[in-house]
């Protein structure tokens, strides 16, 4: 019974030329976005790999230098593109691609695509995620707005019901038929994405990536299903197709445009972020209260020297077994890093509070829920960016402290002229970065996941209850 109505919806839709044209357009957009996205993220990834190898090579083969000079030359960490980021660029275009890692200073990632491109990028990018999140709901609305109103307008609803079918049976059958139609549009693109991914990585494809891809698809299918059921319910509530369409378009504008924008603005107003200049100034001021490794007249450095003399029972710093210059550098680094990390944590805390607002708004709006989950699975969300930034900072700290250690153990006090050969630099392992596993990504989006599941349950239970109360005449 359900099957024959579903089949009827499917066949009718396929015979409707307007809808076929629209679907083909969306499908082409999806396919184009997949191919272009994969190509551009592949190019970016290769650029970054080459650059990373280049800086690693340069570091390991540097000219003979004083270790602290080496720390100032520093190194770079390039953020690898996560394998699935071609599906959803997320914040990637706006967050930096590389971190300059040097002594005394913690730089945040720089050189984002947005920084380097024209303002066109601000208009939004044509990504798979954009088509799936914004355009697919529109297509679904055009597909489903007349689900019940058309049957009411033509009177076929009465004939259907007089054949002994219940309203909720009709609703579920229609939902099944529409789901099949939507699958026809989405599946080729998802298959292409999966196929290209396999083609590129062959059997090396990590199970983690596969899980991310499967979850990515599952979340979108849930999202589409929510929109289909919602559209059918709205259609059942109206007597005329035109008003049903207007209502649904209103819902679309609210969900996909107004609420996301409003929640972002609200987050920004409630939790203001300091400007970069302000934060740099604050960090600098606080660091200045600690030891300055470069100032031999620094009174706190003097105090540290005295402590060391007393502790080891010697008269002068040259009698110490280690080079006190290196120690002072290490203590200075430790202090400045501590200050910076405190400030950075405060800043990311603010960002997270802002994000929390939009995560909570997902309970009002399934679009936001799927947007967060999509970015999370693609590895292009804020937590992933932060993860990279922290790993780079960790590496920087160990690099700087490693070089300070070399200065303390292999160089004499006040020795500023000795140059160590490049073999010394080869002792440092180059920076490598691994994207965290899928469970980690999911853990950061539990709120959005709950919201999506809640929406699904809500439209299926409350929605159907509403449909059963539909006025037939």
């Amino acid at each position: 019974m359900v099957k024959s109505i579903a089949q009827k919806e499917f066949i009718s839709t396929l015979r409707d030329r307007r809808f076929v044209v629209l679907s083909v357009l969306v499908l082409l957009l999806l396919l184009a976005a997949t191919v272009v996205g994969l190509y551009s993220s592949h190019t970016l990834q290769q650029e970054r790999e080459v650059a990373q190898e280049e800086v690693n090579h340069q570091f390991h083969n540097s000219a003979d230098r004083h270790p602290h000079r080496m720390a100032h030359y520093g190194s770079f960490a390039f953020r690898p593109k996560s394998t699935l980021s071609f599906l959803d660029f997320g914040l990637d275009s706006f967050t930096g691609a590389s971190v300059f890692m040097e002594a005394h200073k913690q730089n945040s990632a720089n050189f984002s695509q947005a920084q380097q491109s024209s303002s066109l990028i601000r208009f939004g990018e044509m990504t798979v995620a954009f088509v799936l999140q914004m355009l697919m709901p529109l297509l679904i609305i055009f597909l489903c707005f007349g689900a019940f109103t058309q049957e009411k307008e033509t009177g076929t609803l009465k004939i259907l019901l007089s054949q002994g079918v219940s309203l909720s049976q009709i609703a579920w059958a229609k939902i099944a038929g529409y789901s099949k139609t939507v699958a026809l549009v989405v599946t080729p693109a998802l298959l292409l994405a999966g196929g290209l991914l396999f083609g590129q990585n062959g059997l090396d494809l990590q199970p983690d990536t596969l899980w991310r891809l499967l979850l990515f698809m599952a979340f979108y299918l849930m999202y589409f299903f929510i929109f289909i059921v919602l559209s059918v319910v709205v259609s059942a509530l109206h007597q005329r197709s035109s008003t049903s369409l207007v209502t649904l378009l209103g819902i679309w504008i609210l969900c996909c445009v107004i609420i996301p924008k409003a929640s972002a603005n609200l987050g920004n107003t409630l939790y203001t972020t300091p400007t970069k200049a302000q934060m740099d100034a604050d960090v600098h001021e606080e660091v200045a209260k600690g030891i300055d490794g470069h100032n031999s007249q620094d009174s706190r450095a003097e105090a540290l020297k005295k402590d060391l003399l007393r502790k080891y029972g010697v008269d002068s710093v040259s009698q110490l077994l280690v080079n006190v210059d290196g120690i002072i550098m290490a203590v200075g680094e430790e202090q400045s890093t501590k200050v910076y990390r405190e400030h950075f944590e405060k800043l990311t805390g603010t960002f997270q509070k802002q994000n929390r607002i939009s995560e909570l708004a997902a309970f009002l709006n399934p679009y936001l829920a799927v947007r967060h989950l999509s970015m999370g699975m693609a590895g292009s969300d804020f937590p992933h960016y932060l993860h990279f930034q922290n790993k780079a900072e960790e590496y920087r700290y160990h690099l700087a402290q490693g070089l300070n250690h070399i200065q303390a153990t292999r160089l004499k006090y006040k020795d500023k002229t000795t140059r160590l050969s490049s073999d010394t630099w080869k002792e440092f392992k180059p920076f490598t970065y691994e994207t965290p596993p899928v469970q980690w990504a999911l853990r950061h989006h539990l709120l959005s996941l709950t919201a999506l599941v809640l929406w699904l349950g809500l439209v299926c239970t409350v929605g159907m209850r509403v449909i059963n109360k539909t006025q037939i005449v």
Binding site: S4, R15, G155, L161, S166
Partner: protein, 236 residues
């Protein structure tokens, strides 16, 4: 005995108007009852109450002795409904429409026997495989009849089924009704066509402002007398 169709003190009150004022009616199997009345007299309300599409304010409608309001799905097994303007799914062919609707009623006919129902209803066989979007009103009506006949319903509810049909189609329709009634189907038909009502009806009811003002046997009068009587009631 059990009536095929029965209304007991059936009343429907809308917010601003009393659409049906306590209807009492019994229709036996094989009987054709024609309900005459102006637009808004309560004819469609009565049919919708029998179909269970609206719930009565008081009283009850029965089909085969089952109360409609409490046996929504069960009573549908016994009845078939043909609206004034049978709108089908324009993107499907006549045969596909019939296949869909009869499968919804729980029947699993072969394509040949479905085709037979369409031809018996008077649809040219070459039209059956064309999309309904290109059908005339009469052709759609015939598919509607085929849907009703294929259901083998004991009760047929018709809401102005012949309005807008040409005389030939209308005549064929009457023949079909008489055939069904001969097989024991009870037919309840709301209509404006007094002559058709006289011709096929066993009894004729006249409804005015939600009230059944008269019920007559068609053997008692001819079409002209019936029209005069009808006009008298309307002018009263």
């Amino acid at each position: 005995m059990e009536f095929a169709l029965e209304a007991r003190q059936l009343k429907k009150q809308y917010q601003d108007k009393l659409a049906l004022k306590g209807l009492n009616l019994q229709i036996e199997p094989g009987e054709i009852f024609c309900l005459l009345g102006q637009n808004g007299a309560g004819k469609s309300t009565t049919i919708n109450l029998f179909l269970g599409f609206i719930t009565p304010t008081s009283g009850a409608a029965y089909i085969n002795g089952l109360e409609v309001a409490t046996n929504q799905l069960k009573v549908k097994e016994y009845l078939a409904y043909i609206p004034e303007n049978v709108m089908l799914y324009p993107n499907l062919t006549g045969l596909e429409n019939l296949t869909l609707f009869s499968s919804l009623a729980g029947f699993d006919y072969s394509p040949e026997s479905l085709m037979q129902y369409l031809i018996e209803a008077g649809l040219p066989s070459e039209a059956a495989t064309r999309k309904v979007g290109a059908y005339s009103k009469g052709m759609r009506q015939k598919v509607g009849i085929a849907i009703a006949v294929a259901k083998h319903a004991r009760v047929l509810l018709l809401d102005e089924p012949t309005s807008g049909l040409d005389p030939k189609a209308s005549n064929e329709f009457s023949d079909l009704l008489l055939k069904l009634s001969g097989q024991g189907t009870a037919i309840f038909m709301a209509t404006h066509d007094i002559f058709r009502a006289k011709e096929v009806g066993t009894r004729v009811g006249i409804m005015r402002e939600g009230e059944l003002v008269d019920v007559l046997s068609t053997t008692d009068l001819n079409a002209n007398e019936l029209e005069n009587l009808y006009l008298n009631y309307m002018h009263a």
